[in-house]
């Protein structure tokens, strides 16, 4: 193995030809490169699904976890070593179905993690069942009957859960997506990008054609300013973001919907409580010296003095 700065591995990419995941992968690699992230300081964490294979294709630390659990694994990695850049790749089923509870919980933390949703409206790897973003009544070619359940809107859910960077990208506009990823990664707090990702094999409704007739770019509108620089701006910008998040159908906005720069990150909050946290996080703690505990007997007495009773026979 040689360290590679093109962020590519030798692993054969086994997605279906034409899959939107290729675009997401390329955008990630471009973003990592342009941000000059060191592969060993970067961790790509994924769930299970077609999307879940992403880390194997990226030359950076990769943690391919369990279906629905990428966020909690990533949380532990980031909390234990906040120096790492942590990016989560997950399917819509993974993050918004089985993992929805974690998705909501992460919003409450503003931990400095970027979450990328591969939103293809289907469960790809299990052969095309409806995912939580497929509208009710929709019948993709892989479904025997029309979908019974309403979709959840990932952006609205993110906004309601407290994410401080909320954006939508399109898998087949790699350049635009790479820029979003760069901003998301640089944001100090939890960022989510919902990436519209055509699944050519199972989803014949939300195709390249379908999307490309409808998408437009928010940043082309000079009026559009999603950034909250002062806490007072939040309510109005949040309401506008919600409104944009609900726009779907003839026109589908891409870009940053909401970006709150004012909220302290989880790491900051922890540091307030435990001042050494960022300097010596759990991953770097000194726990032993030459095989002996770093805590001496005297330390033990000091730390746990409230439990020590001196006998005054």
């Amino acid at each position: 193995m040689v360290l590679r700065m093109d962020y590519k591995t030798d692993v054969w990419v086994d997605w279906c030809p034409g899959c939107g995941d290729y675009g997401i992968l390329a955008a990630m690699q471009a973003a990592l490169k342009e941000l000059s992230l060191k592969p060993w300081e970067t961790v790509i964490v994924s769930g299970i699904g077609c999307s879940g294979k992403t880390p194997h294709f990226i030359f950076a630390n990769g943690v391919h976890t369990l279906h629905g659990r990428a966020i909690p694994f990533a949380t532990g990695i980031k909390l234990a070593n906040p120096d790492l850049k942590v990016i989560v790749n997950g399917g819509d089923g993974d993050l918004l179905g089985i993992g929805a509870g974690h998705f909501v919980a992460l919003g409450r933390r503003n931990l400095d993690i970027t979450v990328i949703i591969h939103d293809n409206q289907v469960y790809g790897l299990t052969k095309g069942q409806a995912s939580p973003t497929l509208p009710a009544g929709a019948k993709t070619k892989s479904l025997p009957k029309p979908n019974l359940q309403d979709p959840v809107n990932p952006l609205e859910l993110a906004l309601a859960s407290g994410y401080t960077f909320v954006a939508r990208g399109y898998a087949l506009n790699t350049r635009h997506l790479a820029n979003l990823i760069k901003q998301a990664v640089q944001h100090k707090g939890t960022a989510v990008i919902d990436v519209l990702q055509p699944c050519v094999t199972y989803n014949d409704l939300y195709t390249k054609d379908w999307y490309e007739k409808r998408i437009y770019y928010l940043d082309e509108d000079p009026e559009w300013d999603p950034v909250v620089e002062k806490p007072e701006e939040a309510p109005v910008k949040l309401a506008r973001a919600h409104e944009k998040a609900r726009e779907w159908g003839d026109r589908i906005p891409l870009g940053i919907l909401y970006w709150d720069k004012t909220k302290p990150s989880m790491e900051d909050r922890i540091e307030q409580r435990l001042s050494s946290y960022k300097k010596i996080p759990p991953a770097k703690a000194v726990i032993e010296e030459a095989g002996k505990p770093a805590i001496s007997s005297e330390d033990l007495y000091r730390i746990f003095k409230r439990y020590i009773v001196k006998i005054q026979g």
Partner: protein
Amino acid sequence: MREARFLLGGPQGAGLETAAQVLSTAFAIKGYYVYSYREYYSNIKGRHSYIQVRVNSEKLPMAPREEPHVIAVIDAESIFHHFNEAANGTVIVYDSATSSRRLEGIPSIEPETRRRIQKLLQREGYDTTVQGALRYAVERRGARLLPLDYRSILKRVAEKTGTPLFKARRFLNTIPLAASSYLTGLSLNALRAGFERRFQGRDGIVEGNMVVASIVYGILEEEGVERFNVNPPRKREGEFLVVSGNDIVAIGKVVGGVRYQSYYPITPAADESFTLEAHEDLGGLHEEKGGILVFQTEDEIAAISSAIGAALTGARSSTSTSGPGFDLMIEALGWAGINEVPVVVTYYQRGGPSTGLPTRGGQEDLYNALFAGHGQFPKIVLASGDHQEAFIDAILAENLAEKYQLPVIHLLDKFLANTIVTIEPPSLEDVVIERGALTRGGPDYKRFDKSKGPISPRALIGAEETVMWYTGDEHNPEGHITEDPENRMLMHDYRMRKLEIADEEIPEEDRAVLYGDGEDFLVIGWGSVKGAVLEALEILAGEGFKGAYLHYRVLSPFPSKRTREVLTRYEDSKVILAEHSVRPLLSGLISMHTGLRVRKSILKWTGRPIYALELAGAIEKLLDREEGVEVLSYGA
């Protein structure tokens, strides 16, 4: 006498725990060994709870024992729960104003319990009133009564302290506390020391309590109430650590280097995390060595997943839970297994199945800890029998996890978790931190390089110039997915072989520890039956039956040779399992690993702990049978 035992009873939320702490501490300060165990409902306020305290002048009791010298209660309900536990000479301290309270008029007693008590009293011809119950205790059990007029005492307190009566009521719990203290021979000064430690800096409260105590002492002295005469303590100097099971595990984790602990609140595990959190700054040491991050997650799935994530970066990490939470962790444990991640789950058993008896105890989760999880992967399972073991095992768990790169489950239970004892502060002399095969990695690093054998050197995520992959899928040395059958054969086999290496390396005598060498019978057990078994052995030795106890501390890798060797020293009919379960579990495990059959069991599944005397009695009963089960049921 060597020991005083008292039982304090009252409604949840009425200060019982505080009372027991004060009393325990006061005795500890004098140099007595104290054992104190709490029993309570899954309820915040109002249901009955009680504390069993043993104060011993010579050595630490490690189990509850029947025949309290004092039963001191706050309310009428407590009388109904405990009158039947009085022994010859037991003094019952109660509020004289409650004597006419009827059992039927107490709404907080569960109907089953009420009916059960009713049946007993009626059958025996007593009123279903406090008075009736007390008469039963006196006439049938030889108890002595010590009624006090709680209200008039509080009135005097109110007068003396110049507070209104309703405020003085907060000292209600101090009345039975002070009476117990008096009866067991503590001086007012010693008691004050207890209050002072408990209410550090809150002088008003200390004083208020002392007012109550001196009034009670005054009354009892005046009435010439006889005091129990506990021998002076053997231990006259030095220190005690006064800790619950939860606390000692937390202390072990601090020493053992745990710096990331995730949890989702659950009884009886959560207190361990609170203790850790309260000491996150390591008494200031964190500035130099780093502190502990204790993180409350959204559920147990996130707790274990984040602990695994933290472990990948090199943090010693663990999570603490109980049965329902453990069930939810099982999928991720398998991920840790296939990815060879050192992570520790501290697993406090409680009464199951399902929500079961969430504040009561049990030992029914052995197979869950050992066998849950789809597919085969190695895990080490430790079980602690008392506070000292829990301390050592908390550290050992971390060492073994890193040495063999696998998940370790540390089994404890509610009995241990909620028992507060005085132990000698652990010596760190012999404590080692073994981090196993760690490497700095480098550009050619392969996480699952098996060219040198089953255990691959472990680099941490974040190591300079080092990149690695993890996946729950079967993988190649780099950590990338592969379904190749030959790779699979090696990887899957090598993971299992790590456990076989551990089996060779961890001495079997440490995994199944033999206490005593009596030839009349052998008790086998694990976890928190230890204290009761050792005490029962002593009791029986006094009666001429000499036994031994084989105590299992490591259930996986299972000490098969040791088991065979020790068990075959005894005739089949001389081997007896003691366990808190409804059907024997350890016996099955022994058969599974050795083919030996254990034919006798003493089981208890009321959610209450095994008491020393009932256990001794059951062993004796079983001695001359060929096989059989004795079911224990002592305790309210």
